[in-house]
């Protein structure tokens, strides 16, 4: 089977690239587009380090065959800061010491963005639910949950 041209709107920019059949969205972002924030922790849908927003919804990008989402819009961690300014989630992670090795951070922040986009006023349980597909081996999760709640508070007018 031949490679095909795929069009995506990534972080508000139109991108066009060739993808061999079955190439994952994660590989496309990393290898074709050079966007390295999303990580490959398992490539089989078990860790969440590859989480990005696909048309606004969080997905494990390692499980999405890119040819099936031609024309979609994608948001990665590279597209979260505005004009070099951290957004509330990033700032809360930074100041809340919610990162250690940082390998899970991109996925965590994207899951948090998706949650806060649809629910600006989440409970602790909502936050826990939103990151339940994201593995962190370093922090014990507490500082991450606190940071997401803090981000929600910062975002409220």
């Amino acid at each position: 089977m031949a490679s095909q041209v795929v069009n995506l709107r990534v972080n508000e920019r139109s991108r066009e690239f060739l993808a061999a059949p079955g190439t994952s969205l994660l590989s496309s972002l990393r290898d074709a587009l050079g966007l390295m924030a999303a990580k490959r922790g398992c490539a089989q849908g078990s860790c969440g380090t590859c989480t990005v927003l696909l048309d606004g919804r969080p997905v494990m990008s390692c499980l999405v065959a890119v040819e099936t989402v031609d024309g979609a819009s994608v948001r990665t961690l590279e597209g979260v800061a505005r004009d070099g300014e951290l957004d509330e989630v990033q700032a809360a992670f930074l100041e809340g010491f919610a990162t250690q090795c940082g390998f899970c951070t991109a996925g965590m922040i994207m899951s948090a963005e998706a949650l806060l986009d649809r629910n600006p006023d989440p409970t602790r349980e909502d936050v826990v639910e939103a990151i339940s597909g994201n593995v962190c081996r370093c922090t014990g999760y507490g500082p991450i949950v606190d940071a997401i709640l803090d981000a929600a508070a910062r975002r409220r007018p």
Binding site: C42, Q44, G102, V135, C138, G140, Y141, G142, I144, V145
Partner: protein, 336 residues
Amino acid sequence: MAKLRGRGYASVNYPTGMNLGGDPSQALIHATTTGTFVVSLSSVDLGQGLKTVVAQCAAETLGLPMENILVDTADTDTGPHCMGTFASRGTHRVGNAVIMAAAEAREVMLAVAAEELEVDAGDLETDGTGYIQVKGAEEKRVHITDLALAAHFTHGRTISGRGIFLKEKNDPVPETGEMDPDSCQAHACTVAVVEVDDETGVVEVLEMHNAYEIGRALNPAMVAQQVEGGAWMGMSHALFESTEPYYPTRDHGPGDFNEYLMPGPADIPMYHNAILERPAGNGPFGAKGIGEMTANAPIPAIANAIFDACGVRLDTMPFTPERVLRGLDELRGNHH
């Protein structure tokens, strides 16, 4: 059928700065012409925060703000030798090497400042914001940026320093096991409160109280990260983890995070932590190091809490619902 609550205790010590291999670590430090001090290492930060801690050690020793420190590490072409990040040697070994290098650089910095200000180096002090000044006559001062420029272009001096920390390799005496394998002992006592569901065998950890003694908390927020991250890992080891769940047979080994179980964000207990400081004479600013030990005390504390809750003594890790239920069955006299 009930949820049974219990409390368990464990107290431990932990050796830091191991020298069974005798492996020393080195640090080099030099000032750029604008007064930034570059700390060159080959040590590795695993996420525990080594880069930040060594920058603090350098800033403290030099008497300069954190913004004046850059850490350049983990390139074997540019960094001097470090055996690696293991055996709780990062903070202890590398911290000490950086302090030694920074102290040597500070001496040069003060000597050049003495020339520049035409005073005695012994009369100089740093103010922590970037100035080197005369004690008691603070208006007589020079900023590190100007000083570093002058050192290079006027005085022809390199503001630099070298550091190494070695505790010689120790070989145990084979007959008796006599040895001197480490540099310090850190301490912890954990109290775990659990609830055991006597129908499902599921153990929930409700509270963990951790008292640590680590010599010196160099960065209290990063100590908190280690205490909580480690307590979670200990709980995970205790209740869930194994690559060979039917050890010693190798069957049913998990292949990914869907199969290798660990507690999620919904399962974390309430933590109450406290830190005691008994500075170690040989540690950097008295620090002993903490990262490795934090998963240790939680495991037996949980085992002991399970016994307290339901009378089941679990002598085999992990403490799965299956093992709890088998223990309860035995207590009830149901042998299958």
